[in-house]
Amino acid sequence: MTPLIGTPERPLRAAIIGAGPTGFYTADHLLRNARVVEVDLFDRLPTPYGLVRLGVAPDHQKIKFVTNVFDKVAATPRFRFYGGVEFGKDITLADLKAHYHQIVYCTGAQTDRRMGIPGEDLSGSHPATEFVAWYNGHPDYRDCTFDLTQERVAVIGVGNVAVDVVRILCRTAEELATTDITDYALEALRKSRVKEVYLLGRRGPAQAAFTNPEVKELGELADADVTARPEEVELDPLSRAAVERSQDRATQKKVEILKAYARRQPTGKSRRLTLRFLVSPVELIADGAGGVAALRLVRNELYATSTGALQPRATGHFENLPVGLVFRSVGYRGVPLPGVPFNESWGVILNDKGRVLDSDTKQPIVGEYAAGWIKRGPTGVIGTNKPDAAETVECMFEDLASGAVLEPAHPEAAAAEALVRQRQPNYFSYADWLKLDAIETERGRAQGRPRLKFTSIDEMLAALGR
């Protein structure tokens, strides 16, 4: 009989792909178990934390403190970080199967959902995902350009990401200069001529996905007036009944905030942000040079589905909203990983409670798991990934108990390290990252900013003297 896995003599070796919040929560749950587990955490980027570094808005520094907790996880002796190592490129599924008992995919949602309307790909139309990755310094997006000479901008969608985008567009350069926004974005936004910003919701105020603290913040911008149309924030009878029935305080409060915005008078600030509801873009109209001239909007009304959910339905009323720049913030989407079954309907890895399923048999595949956004889709805040990761890790230990783990030929930490070294000699360890982190913070301090990010791999290598 083979000796038990999960003991000091024979630790359970787990590979986690993706060092966002989910990767760290998963590592934490694994490392806290009574079983002896060794975790190798891989990320295609040299820097850890996923969207906490590259998604969370630069003017929301406080939430970024959560990385302290992730650093504590990384300080565990049985934890290793392999930054700059991409699954599917630098290492393959076959490599991992030869070195680990279990593999967990925590790769998040790396792209945007398409809207499927004409004109979506005009040059002045961008997914919010790209803008966010650009201002936050994601190495893959640092060369993106956005035409901020446009005076009128529309952001489609009313989730918290859309709110981030309009807030960054409406902030003054002075407000941004105290954040860790990248230098190039700060310069571009300093020169911005944006005056009118529209945030467009397809349903009513009661159905808006943004949360109250986020929408409240829009009313406190230094140099942008916020407004809404009284007739659009007034609840229709269906929404009113739903809100009363559910007694949902948060939604009631949200509607109050929006109604108060509709009553505000302009105070002469340089920018104006208008929150619109019950309108759907049906087309982006071209300006003759490949750019955007306007958004064609249809007015919606709400109807109740059989479960009582309120959904939008187009009326026959259209309007053209002249805008030269459009950000589509209608949600993120997961991308398939080579060799890993994918559920196209929801843009996630095909899974049951985190166990990856075979596409044909729909039965669990031994040794492969998913957690976080790539498991349940792109919703939820940082902490939502903790119970989500816990559920996956529970499956992992259940399977370990029943003997359903991979049988790697080289289950030694040194063998895995040798493999990584061979495939990606320039990989980044956690110690490397902590050095980069210290340099970034130091560079920031000189300018009164939380940090000044490195935005290219070459810069990072150079900073480490490689």
């Binding site: 520094q61 406080k62 939430i63 970024k64 403190f65 959560v66 990385t67 302290n68 907790v69 650093d71 504590k72 159905q207 739903a242 029935r245 559910s246 949902d248 589905t305 059989s306 479960t307 009582g308 959910a309 309120l310 959904q311 559920n343 309907s345 929801w346 996630v348 095909l350 899974n351 049951d352 409670k353 985190g354 166990r355 399923l357 729909k362 498991k375 349940r376 889709g377 919703t379 939820g380 805040v381 940082i382 902490g383 939502t384 990934n385 903790k386 119970p387 989500d388 902590l434 982190d437 210290a438 913070t441 939380p450």
Partner: protein
Amino acid sequence: MNIANILARKGSMAVTVRPEQSIRDALALLDRHNIGALVAVEGDRPVGILSERDIVREAAHNEKFFARVVADLMTRDVITGQPHDDLLSVAHTMTERRIRHLPVVDQGRLIGMVSIGDVVKAQRDHYQGEVDTLQTQLLADEGGPAR
């Protein structure tokens, strides 16, 4: 949060029967998949729902219930959900109308099923996520300023 978020991490499709199948078949399916209800379908289209309760109700007064067919016992007036239905509305409707299993359809085609347990769990995880975010922040503060 909507129904799609539940279906995404629930690999199993809804387990289906045809209305003309026997209750014996249905029981075997419920047992094999360890579930509480089956969706009766004609092609891709749900036409009824058969829960363990429907069977128990029949068994209580009919010794020969095994011989009956699904169509005799199933509930025909099925309420179905759609992937983009908000969970708050879904939870309300399911409790109000005492529905434990909601077949999910997309353009008339059955694509899955959510139970009241799934809905409650999703809502609990949602609130738990907010709490866990705060907890992570608190733990982080103990560690001093952000790096």
